[in-house]
């Protein structure tokens, strides 16, 4: 906690765990107070799966990442607000060998694939909390992401397949 009246320009180090690795960024040096999580992940960390399709309007969902396990729009969140928090992108989820990756490929759950990372991270958050979601729950969880190609039905199948794979993995 700070009591920094009169010292508003005081620098502060932001610590963020990104895909399992600890990072430190100094405000005023590495990033600015107004640097968004989106800019930090793309430009500072080089995670190009984090995308935008609405120019930062908050309406497309393509920049979705997980913060402490919850899907958020990285373009609508300050990097400074991620201090001491855990951020996951599709790169980390793929490295874990999560069945969603395979399921998306097998179901052709993308056309250009631009928003596929957003679908996958959001579905991962859903499956972490709800291993056996109904179609309605899948649709609700993924409702904040726009697919211009309209791949929604294939995405639903992919999430169902991944859920089944995870359940089997749990049994074996």
């Amino acid at each position: 906690m700070s009591g920094i009246v009169g010292a508003v320009e005081e620098r502060r180090v932001i610590k963020i765990n990104i895909n399992g690795r600890e990072y430190e960024f100094e405000i005023g040096v590495d990033i600015q107070p107004g640097t968004t999580l989106f800019e930090l992940l793309r430009s500072r960390v080089g995670l190009r799966s984090v995308r935008d399709a609405c120019l930062g309007d908050g309406s497309c969902g393509a920049c979705t990442v997980l913060v402490d396990g919850d899907p958020v729009l990285s373009c609508m969140m300050l990097a400074a607000d991620c201090h001491n928090r855990k951020v996951e992108t599709v790169e980390g989820i793929a490295r874990e060998g999560h069945p969603l990756i395979d399921a998306f490929a097998k179901n052709y759950a993308y056309q250009c694939g631009y928003e596929a990372p957003a679908f996958i991270v959001t579905a991962k958050a859903l499956l972490d909390k709800n291993p056996n979601p109904s179609e309605e729950e899948i649709v609700e969880a993924l409702s904040g992401i726009i697919s211009r190609a309209g791949v929604y039905p294939a995405v639903i199948s992919a999430v169902e397949d991944a859920a089944e794979a995870l359940r089997k993995r749990g049994v074996s």
């Binding site: 906690m1 009246v5 968004t36 930062g56 300050l78």
Partner: protein, 328 residues
């Protein structure tokens, strides 16, 4: 490369206490920062004239003890101003006893927005009129200290159907606001307790009666009487992400009727004539009575050139609020 613009620069102060936040805000050149989803939009798109932005954002999320909590006890629901909309929409006590609020909180934006946006931020959001929000202050409208309301002569399809306040016809877009008015909530700040009904205003550029150094702390809602049911309805082009075209909330039953529309007027609009028709007759609600009340709700409408259609939408919303489970 990405087309997302960097935010207009600011200094970020992490407030450790409510007093500290109030002290910095009192200096005048600062705004409070909660979830940030609304303020980030204003900073990214340079919506306001340059001189209207503050140099400092006071982060309220570092305040201790935290302003993020939901607590239902002794017939009163208390929600910290920084509570996320997703938490409110999922809370068992809120869903059971304050259904309108759970549904309203759950209908804001998208799941990703609700995981960040707070209830305090939702009800204090800046105007959403599209002339107001056009990037780079393209339209220096009344809400930014200008002398012209562009919506009066321009495209006003989504604007007020019940007239202006201080010349402005941009509507209040909050989903939570009508639920709070219907449930007769109070908003507690570091200075006073404000009835939800008196909380909104049309200022430059803000939407509430909050003073510069006033910090929202808590929303308090009394449990409705046992026989009363609260509900929320929203009409938007898309179910996910969209702001309302018209929304509404009601508390009906036990002789009581409170019906509130939003996105139809610059502040939440209480449909008093509809309430009068239902008052004392809530045991005898039927199609006919609902029609009568819905007609009364919009009887004061004075639509603009391009939004007469919203009157019919508002009427339908009122009818749905009165007759649960209907889709007319």
């Amino acid at each position: 490369m990405s087309g997302v613009r960097a935010l207009r620069s600011f200094k970020l102060v992490n407030a450790g206490s409510v007093d500290e936040a109030a002290r910095i805000l009192a200096e005048g050149n600062a705004w409070p920062l909660a979830g940030g989803t609304d303020i980030i939009h204003l900073l990214r798109f340079r919506v306001l004239p340059d001189g209207m932005y503050p140099d400092v954002l006071v982060n309220l999320k570092t305040i201790s003890p935290s302003l993020e909590y939901i607590n239902y006890q002794d017939g009163v629901l208390r929600i910290g101003a920084l509570t996320k909309l997703s938490a409110i929409s999922r809370d068992a006590a809120v869903k059971e006893r304050f259904a309108a609020l759970a549904a309203a909180a759950g209908s804001v934006g998208s799941p990703q927005i609700r995981n960040v946006a707070t209830v305090g931020g939702d009800i204090a959001q800046f105007p959403r009129g599209w002339y107001f929000r056009k990037p780079d202050n393209r339209f220096h409208c009344l809400r930014k200290g200008g002398d012209t309301c562009y919506a009066r002569t321009g495209d006003n399809r989504y604007h007020s159907i019940f007239g202006e306040i201080n010349g402005c016809v941009a509507v209040n877009m909050s989903d939570v606001a009508p639920a709070l008015v219907a449930l007769d909530a109070e908003i507690v700040t570091n200075k006073r307790t404000i009835r939800a009904e008196d909380f909104w205003d049309v200022r430059v550029p803000r939407s509430t009666v909050l003073e510069q150094d006033e910090v929202m702390l808590e929303i308090r809602i009394p449990a409705p009487p046992r026989g009363a049911r609260s509900s929320f309805e929203k009409f938007a082009v898309r179910k996910a992400i969209d702001f309302p075209i018209v929304n509404g909330a009601a508390l009906i039953g036990d002789g009581l009727a409170r019906i509130v529309l939003n996105a139809v007027y610059p502040v939440p609009y209480r449909a008093r004539k509809a309430e009068e028709i239902l008052r004392g007759r809530t045991d005898a609600i039927n199609e006919e009575l609902a029609e009568e009340a819905a007609d009364a709700a919009v009887s004061g409408a004075v639509p603009l050139a391009y939004n007469g259609w919203k009157v019919q939408v508002a009427r339908s919303i009122v009818k749905r609020l009165i007759l649960p489970g209907t889709r007319r």
